[in-house]
């Protein structure tokens, strides 16, 4: 574990992976660490607006290796009708039907958010199922599109440009600014997909 100072008021903590980043971010929130933002990444946690010593003390101590909050499991109904099922099948060395079977069989974890409010990077695909991004991004991907890039899965909360391989779409609402909990998927949420 490594602490990197990011200017006078922020610290980036490097950890081994997604699970540890989630656990550290969760422990920091549970302990009420005085940070304006606690932002998990793929292999880091950023503490912004914080006293670096407070982060150093947290990191030096013990914390549970699991996410403390009950972030729950979300099941997303998906119509597997995306334009990129074939390229994913080729990358995975299987049929399109098997892509659906494999995708619905796995449990994902929302590792971190970014790109857009409510867009969660979902971890859960093995390394050998890695898929490339599109050579040139599409100018418009529909809201609810379920897509893959690298070993990540993501669901587009709003229509937007995007370079991920789209395998289907869900009618679930990923983001609602007016709701008390605006994001359906927050770091730590477990996610399963169900074919409709």
């Amino acid at each position: 574990m490594k602490l990197i100072h990011v200017g006078p008021h922020a610290v980036l903590v490097e950890v081994d992976g997604t699970a540890e980043a989630l656990a550290l971010a969760s422990a920091a929130r549970q302990r009420g660490i005085g940070a304006q933002e606690i932002v998990p990444g793929a292999r880091t946690v950023l503490f912004d607006g914080v006293d670096a010593d407070e982060v150093a003390a947290l990191v030096a101590g013990q914390w549970p290796d699991e996410v403390a909050e009950e972030t729950g499991t979300v099941v997303l109904p998906v119509a597997y009708d995306g334009p990129d099922l074939e390229p994913v099948a080729r990358a995975w060395g299987c049929t399109v039907d098997e892509v659906v079977e494999r995708h619905t069989a796995r449990e994902f974890t929302a590792a971190f958010c970014g790109f857009a409010p409510g867009f969660a990077y979902l971890a859960g695909l093995p390394d050998h199922w890695r898929v490339p991004r599109l050579g040139s991004p599409r100018s418009r991907i529909r809201a609810g599109a379920v897509a893959l890039a690298d070993t990540w899965c993501g669901v587009y909360p709003h229509a937007s440009p995007g370079g991920w391989l789209v395998i289907g779409h869900t009618t679930a609402r990923l983001w609602d600014t007016g709701a008390e909990a605006p994001a359906l998927l927050v770091p730590g949420t477990r996610v399963r997909f169900e074919a409709t």
Partner: protein, 281 residues
């Protein structure tokens, strides 16, 4: 509703200090880019620093006051007129009901700030009245005919005789950032004193710097990580981007440097084509 938008200009948004505590869900902070100018405008009309103000972009704004209001304009230098008559910017001005307030195009800088006594009282979104132009969270940009409410007046205006326009020398101080080692020592030496132009596509999200492309010492990709305002991101093109208030909350390009917080206010006033000199500390 106290103010009516007659002409919103090219982009006029409502801004306060920003939206805190949502970065982990991908929500940018937003908030006034030139925070000192927004704070001064609020102070001039007796508001608290967190009151919401208008932020114009190059082209100004025209409003109709349906009630007597006190306002002040700071930030980018612009002609300010009430019913066609010039009034001072950088000072509180009280106008009668029915007055037309016109803030002209920026003569220098980009963003003028207009504070009204009582503050713009639009409904907060996730705890802030700021408009974020990356994800469009917050109140929409001003539109023709829109009506804007003001809050109750606070204190009497602060006693400020003259607000002195700030000058700066366009020297941007960079300190090494979390991924500074993605650039080798030779490239760092070349950066110190290097001159860059502000790119055409600079906006509230980032200041794009055009000039000598900075070579990367590391190939490959960085796992996405949280980024801070003032971070200098180095995309594969080698043209650095300084993250301003509406920057994405996580990113996969290395943040090689950090711009001093004190420099960020004037960064928000740089126009495309303006030149800046990098100083590496």
């Amino acid at each position: 509703m106290i103010l009516e938008v007659i002409d919103p200009g090219p982009l006029t948004t409502i801004q306060d200090l920003g939206r805190f505590g949502w970065a982990h869900l991908g929500v940018p902070r937003a908030g006034a880019l030139d925070r000192a100018a927004a704070r001064l405008a609020n102070r001039l009309v007796g508001n608290a620093p967190e009151h919401a103000v208008l932020e114009t972009t190059m082209g100004g704004v025209t409003l109709l006051a349906r009630r007597a209001v006190t306002f002040a304009v700071t930030g980018a230098q612009a002609e300010v007129r009430v019913d066609g008559r010039p009034v001072h910017s950088g000072l509180p001005v009280t106008v009668r009901a029915g007055a037309r307030i016109h803030v002209g195009p920026a003569r220098s800088g980009v963003r003028s700030y207009v504070a009204f006594a009582g503050g713009l009282a639009v409904e907060p979104v996730l705890g802030s009245r700021s408009t974020d132009t990356l994800a469009w969270i917050g109140p929409p940009p001003l539109a023709c005919g829109q009506l804007l409410p003001l809050g109750p007046r606070g204190h009497p205006p602060a006693a400020v005789d003259v607000s002195v326009p700030r000058s700066h020398d366009h020297v941007m101080t960079w300190r090494r950032g979390p991924r500074h080692d993605w650039v080798d020592d030779g490239a760092w030496r070349a950066l110190d004193g290097a001159e860059y132009a502000v790119g055409q596509h600079s906006d509230r999200i980032g200041l794009r710097l055009v000039g000598h492309a900075v070579p990367r010492a590391v190939s490959g990709e960085l796992a996405s990580e949280g980024v801070v305002t003032g971070g200098v991101q180095l995309p594969p093109s080698g043209h650095p981007v300084v993250f301003l208030a509406d920057h994405p909350t996580t990113g996969g390009y290395p943040v090689i440097a950090l711009v001093d917080d004190a420099d960020l206010d004037w960064c928000g006033q740089l126009r495309p084509g303006d030149r800046v000199t990098i100083r590496v500390r």
